[in-house]
Amino acid sequence: MMFAAAIIAVLIAMTLAVARALAGPTAFDRLLAANNIGTSAIMLLALFGFMTERPEFLDIGITYVLLNMIGTLAVLKFFRYGALGHAQDLDKDRDLS
């Protein structure tokens, strides 16, 4: 029951984040909303696993946590350089990163 309440809260938050992702004026707003949706998905997985008493869902949650950050950084790097380039090419900008 308590997990259902938390799941409802997360679903509301997820809907609002989707609204921002659709409306966001800049690409960074959309990326921020996407990151938040990813976090919400992890919390949904964990809470749903607890609600149905199948905590194996947490393993999937751990994977999502790691993928979420890597995905965000990859998209940011793409914005910055226009490509997911080699480390050698990016070395000139070492001061910035």
């Binding site: 308590m2 997990f3 309440a5 938390a6 409802i8 809260a9 997360v10 509301i12 938050a13 997820m14 809907t15 609002l16 984040a17 609204a19 921002r20 800049t26 960074f28 707003d29 990326l31 921020l32 909303a33 990151n35 938040n36 976090t39 919400s40 992890i42 919390m43 964990a46 809470l47 607890f50 905590p55 947490l58 393993d59 949650g61 751990i62 946590v65 790691l66 979420n68 950050m69 965000t72 950084l73 940011l76 914005f79 910055r80 350089y81 226009g82 050698q88 090419d89 990016l90 070395d91 000139k92 900008d93 070492r94 001061d95 910035l96």
Partner: protein, 174 residues
């Protein structure tokens, strides 16, 4: 005892849900990408932390609790890193944060005008801009030196020293 734990779980999960929704509302109502990041940070630290705490109470001392702690620790660290990278990318892209001027009105202000030392870093040219300026003949040796100083590419120099030396000798001769 079980009731106390249930009560703690209820409080933590409801509190976490509250902060999560507050962060999402802030994501929609804040005027600026940087303030929106601030709102999302609320849900990603307090909201997630409280909800995980509520689940921890129910899990007890089991492997599930360890997994929950792993999730929350990774989320706290990577969330900060991702937010930092996002803010830097937005600043570098030319996003101007809304700051209050003397009268209190919100104005999109260039942060470089407020923090001159920040401008040095923000104004450092990108790779695409450097390529146009630098002449080709001086570019290659400088790169090798700077890379060697920083410890990059040391293996490559050791591997083929012959390939580098005649090239630089020719240029000195010219």
């Amino acid at each position: 005892m079980a009731q106390v734990i249930d009560l703690l779980s209820w409080a933590a999960l409801l509190g976490g849900g509250f902060f999560y929704v507050v962060g999402a509302i802030g994501l929609n109502r804040m005027p600026d990408i940087f303030t929106r990041m601030h709102a999302v940070s609320v849900s990603e630290t307090l909201g997630v932390g409280l909800m995980i705490f509520g689940m921890l109470m129910q899990a007890g001392f089991t492997l599930v609790a360890v997994k929950l702690i792993i999730i929350v620790l990774v989320m706290w660290t990577t969330g900060a890193v991702a937010t930092h990278a996002l803010a830097r990318a937005a600043l570098h892209d030319g996003e101007k944060p809304l700051l209050a001027d003397a009268t209190g009105a919100l104005v999109a202000t260039d942060p470089v005008s407020l923090f001159p030392e920040l401008g040095v870093r923000l104004a450092t040219p990108l790779k695409s801009e450097i390529v146009e300026e630098e002449p080709v003949e001086s570019g290659a040796p400088e790169d090798a030196e700077t890379l060697a100083e920083a410890g990059y590419g040391a293996e490559e120099e050791d591997a083929n020293p012959d390939a580098e030396r005649p090239d630089s000798a020719d240029k000195e001769g010219q």
